[in-house]
Subunit: 307 residues, 2 copies
Amino acid sequence: MSIKVSDLGEKELIRYIIANSKDITPDDTAVTQFDSTNLISTCDMLIQSRHFPANMSFFNMGFKAVTVNVSDLAAMGAKPIGFLLAIAMPKDLEVDSFKEIVKGVLEACYFYSIPLIGGDTNEASEIIISGTALGVCDNPLMKDTYNKGDLIAVTGNIGLAALGFELDTLDNVYVNKSLKPIARIREGQMLKDLASSATDITDGLASELYEIKKDNFGFMIYEELLGISDEYKEISDRLGLDYLDLMLHVGEDFELLFTISRDNLEKLSIDYMVIGEVTDSDVVELTLENGFVERIKNKGYEHYVSE
Amino acid sequence: MSIKVSDLGEKELIRYIIANSKDITPDDTAVTQFDSTNLISTCDMLIQSRHFPANMSFFNMGFKAVTVNVSDLAAMGAKPIGFLLAIAMPKDLEVDSFKEIVKGVLEACYFYSIPLIGGDTNEASEIIISGTALGVCDNPLMKDTYNKGDLIAVTGNIGLAALGFELDTLDNVYVNKSLKPIARIREGQMLKDLASSATDITDGLASELYEIKKDNFGFMIYEELLGISDEYKEISDRLGLDYLDLMLHVGEDFELLFTISRDNLEKLSIDYMVIGEVTDSDVVELTLENGFVERIKNKGYEHYVSE
């Protein structure tokens, strides 16, 4: 019986591509020397059945397609210079729905100051949007260039979208975050010269921490610093869900996860929450509110691999 | 009854996007000022059921995904600098097939000297490959900057792939061209400073001529210069197909269609075939072998619109 791609999982498939290409430096985007600076480029594809909740409007589908790509630029501290849009749709999609998707893309491009510079359309059995975000950065912020003793911080509350996916019939901060996440492009540019490393949270904090982890380095996160509201715990509980699991292992936050020295933190003028620190423990851990320390599992949203 | 995207057709959908974005200058690629030169960028998506003939190997799917994008760079005379790959696959696709696709991509990247700099994988109901090709060019070759009296030429025989699609059980020049078209990246760079305009032939010569046509300009193509072999006519005839229809209205050639002054043609050191000239007739015409002149119909391969 031959091995299927679902047996390997998305991360392994990507590892295969990287292992066979000497020109890929795995970070949030590609970095290519260009003239006297660097071209920052990234491409992400959104599949309707995978990335768009059932209650997501066509407008928000378009908006999100830009957001997920701009978020990678933000993670590098890049300045956006252009967005390319390739969109495939079922032939019986209503033209008005197509126009709504395009309006969402254009609104997001305006919001993020990234001009739409190219487009292509196609036919497929469901809506598939592939976006390419291009940016420029003289000294891009990589994902694993942190130092022991650095503080770990995020640009905003995490876990909101994860809860929102479970509440798709209500209009609240959780659902809104799941339907219209925002990329932190301005924050990324302001972090560029102050932070020691950055990445964006797409598959959950736990997943990203393991993505950036280097040998001999560890991370200690503090539950009490995660800003988990009583309401969040109550709603999770009512739904029979583990609130920490939602916070750490689902993702779709699009907040920036960054590391920074204490000195530089004082100079930072964006909104942020310090959530932990870089250690030399070689493990990824969480200090719970009750004081106990537990290992954070390397588990996040991943295509194919059933959880 | 609401209008569907199939009622409008691909060209109309793209026109909607362009009309609503002030930053798109419609040519083969986007051209963005970057430092002291120009970033050339393009994104094309290939859908298995639409772009890959049933007999196409996984390797050739990957190769073609690079080819269609590099072909747009070639049409601008750009030097390739990087390729981004986003690929979605059914979860029960065999890993070996996935690896073959990636090998095809890598082989094409090596062939075209365009490094693979980024990759992403996803799950979808069929194989969908979205590629982004990035290049650099100080003075890109646009598609409609021709002059009256310019000669019209192509970098190689057209119509081969079109016949190949009808012969998918045989191994010959037509089938090979349909399964593994080649982008003319080297030729594009050599044309950059000599040609007056260029585009690549994807939807058929007729379609491209109408794409580049400006008011008060016309094109006269000569059937006898198209290099149509007796064999081509025989096979078409045997299949009950109009050989001129195959030559002009199907596409997938990926040859460059360019215009050039007689003086500059003498300096050109690439393979080419002169097929006609730019006139002031304001129409697109073909002089048949028998001497009669007929209007070339504006008809090419287009998603959704049934022919």
